[in-house]
Symmetry: C2
Subunit: 409 residues, 2 copies
């Protein structure tokens, strides 16, 4: 059910996951839970909860939990603050709210009461974590401390395992996100000029692309994410020498002729992200920059050659790493070849020499080997692909050749 078929109408534009698919996800969790002998599953992870209900919310100090019971029922446990919002969109059977955190009675105690009232006070309860975590000042007891008669079993990876394989509709959402990422990137590239700041170019391109996106997709577009725009694009500080930091942060640098630029795009459609990044130049690249750019593209080619069912994730990264070694580039290596993505910007599995997951149809990866030269800059393209029965399909599209990536100034 959850694998991808190239014949499944993949180019149809959809803007949401259907309630039916969400119910199927709940059923898939139930199946695994029952196999583990569980009477109920309690989810605390906000991404898992969105995945299983379609209700997107800003996680705060106020715990949110989803209870699935073995009869297929689902109960949402939320703060009062979210009640109207939740009723609008959550695919659940029942919603129960508590007043506030910490409140006169701690929300975890109220959750314990609710589980008892569901007849679960002596049950086998599978949990993704034994309590809510330490977000935004939250502290509280573990579930085993408030439901002392129950047996609490950790089953943290159940939703994570499902999320490794994207359905046709999930892939369509990621592909739709990718289209707007490319559009934003075109606006970004067209605005590159010496003497302007990264902030102005980035935000203008992000705004214009987001307005185009939202006007084109209309009222059915819903980001389902705590974001200010439909698509963000920019440099995130990766301008000139600072682009040698793969995870640089915004500095409002001014672009100068001759700079290497590393870009990003972050579009979101119904909670799903795609990733597309390019290495560009302000004006024409120097011979040295040109050399590294071509090397980076050669490394990319090696990565793509190895992405196919039958290979393991590690095979891709091992082949890529061998090239760095052969070319004497190891000291310019900084990170693995890529990672899965979807509801989160990075997800498991990873295109990493230590990740032995088999590559399987329906997995959605970023492919982004890079080389980094302190003082000069970084060289990395990134694209999002989905693994198919016999290879992969690209979900993001933008030119990768050097002529296309040299910005006329």
């Amino acid at each position: 059910m959850n694998t991808y078929s190239p014949n499944s109408g993949n180019d149809q534009i959809i803007l949401r996951i259907s309630p039916e698919e969400i119910r199927r996800r709940q059923a898939a969790v139930l199946m695994v839970m029952k196999r583990k002998g569980g009477d109920a599953f309690v989810h605390f992870n906000p991404i898992s909860i969105f995945y299983l209900t379609g209700f997107a919310f800003a996680p705060t100090e106020r715990p949110v939990a989803l209870i699935q019971t073995s009869d297929g029922g689902s109960v949402f446990f939320i703060p009062q603050l979210e009640i109207d919002h939740c009723r609008e969109s959550a695919v659940v059977d029942r919603i129960e709210s508590y007043p506030e955190y910490p409140g006169h009675r701690h929300p975890m105690l109220i959750l314990g009461d609710l589980l008892s009232n569901c007849g679960l006070d002596k049950a086998n309860i599978v949990v993704d974590s034994d309590g809510y975590g330490s977000r935004w000042g939250y502290t509280g007891p573990r579930l085993r401390e408030v439901l002392v008669g129950a047996r609490i079993h950790p089953g943290p990876q159940i939703v994570g395992e499902l999320r490794k394989f994207k359905s046709g509709d999930e892939i369509r959402l990621i592909k739709e996100a990718g289209r707007w990422g490319s559009h934003a990137h075109r606006l970004l590239q067209d605005a590159v000029a010496p003497g302007v700041t990264e902030t102005e170019i980035s935000i203008n391109a992000s705004r214009d692309a987001s307005v185009d996106m939202m006007q084109t997709l209309g009222k059915d577009y819903d980001p389902k994410a705590w974001v200010p725009l439909g698509v963000m694009t920019g440099f995130r500080g990766q301008v000139g020498p600072n682009s040698a930091n793969p995870h640089a942060m915004m500095k409002n640098l001014t672009l100068n002729e001759g700079d290497v630029l590393v870009t990003y795009t972050r579009p979101v459609v119904w909670g799903y992200y795609s990733e597309m990044e390019r290495t560009m130049f302000v004006g024409q690249p120097s011979p040295e920059q040109e050399k590294y750019f071509h090397l980076m593209n050669s490394i990319r080619d090696i990565a793509f050659e190895h992405i196919k069912p039958g290979n393991k994730c590690s095979d891709v990264d091992t082949a890529v790493y061998a090239f760095y070694k052969k070319e004497g580039l190891l000291k310019h290596w900084r990170h693995h070849t890529g990672h899965c993505l979807g509801l989160e910007l990075h997800e498991a599995p990873f295109l990493d020499s230590g990740d032995s997951h088999p590559i399987l149809p329906g997995m959605v990866f970023s492919v982004e080997p890079g080389i980094f030269f302190p003082g000069l800059g970084g060289f990395r393209h990134s694209d999002t692909i989905v693994v198919t029965d016999d290879g992969f399909e690209e979900l993001t599209h933008y030119p990768t050749d050097i002529a296309s990536c040299a910005c006329n100034v």
Copy 2:
């Protein structure tokens, strides 16, 4: 050392926390650690690590840890990816990197080796959590599983306790952030008009305010945060009836004459946020809107009256809640009166009827009681204040009266 004095030159503009203050924070953690009989502290929480090193990074699947040893030394354990970036800014004695996650050898095993090499394989180790958590596809063993001879003691709240009291420089950063929040909000308000979308107004105001901010503060401004702009402002979907959802999400709604608007501002200076929000109207408010606006301001007054050393956090929220009850407004109540903030948008303690923390000088709170009417809209101002020896000082400034909040159209 960590309390606030109104005579401490609080209006001086600073744009960073000094390395000396960061060292003092490390020493404060050490002191508590030793009192607990610990030989070392291992921090995994990214906010704690920023607080204790000044190194801001994007938390990913790659674990990051900070080791503090009882001799006062500090060792940073980071992925290769961050090494250049970390060397630029981290206040630590030593930096050790690992290649990648999951890698040929899992980073937690490498961390175990490092701790052993530090002579800590049989030590008493205090941790904020027993392992790295479940971020972005990360899975891995707990610290007690990789360092089996050591005794692992949870001490999760040590940094959280320190963070409850802001130093003079932390308050100055929050105040500086507040100035730019107010500036952004002025630009936002001036652009309010019927027929325009929330996206355009929000992003233009955010961009213009951020450019002004960065040009004015110059190169010394560093957001130390994974953000695209220095200050964001907007409505986050809180336009017209949708403003009745206190945690609405961006929908690109079009503003109509007569709409209630609830705004937000999110400026960041060296990792520190301030919060300022206003209820506004597109054009002149209706008599009903005016009534609720005045009620909201009355509730605010009650909150402010009760914020002073000697009171508990719960005293503020209890007094506020009593007013809702007296006025028959309980069904329009959605959340507590406020929360601390600083490096996170919400921090403990909370202005909540269940929070018995004493209110003490140096605590920085949002004050934001609201009333919410499904179908009509929400009414909430928010401001950031710091508790002083005899009351509080406002760190954000913007008019709160109805004439100032009605946008001419």
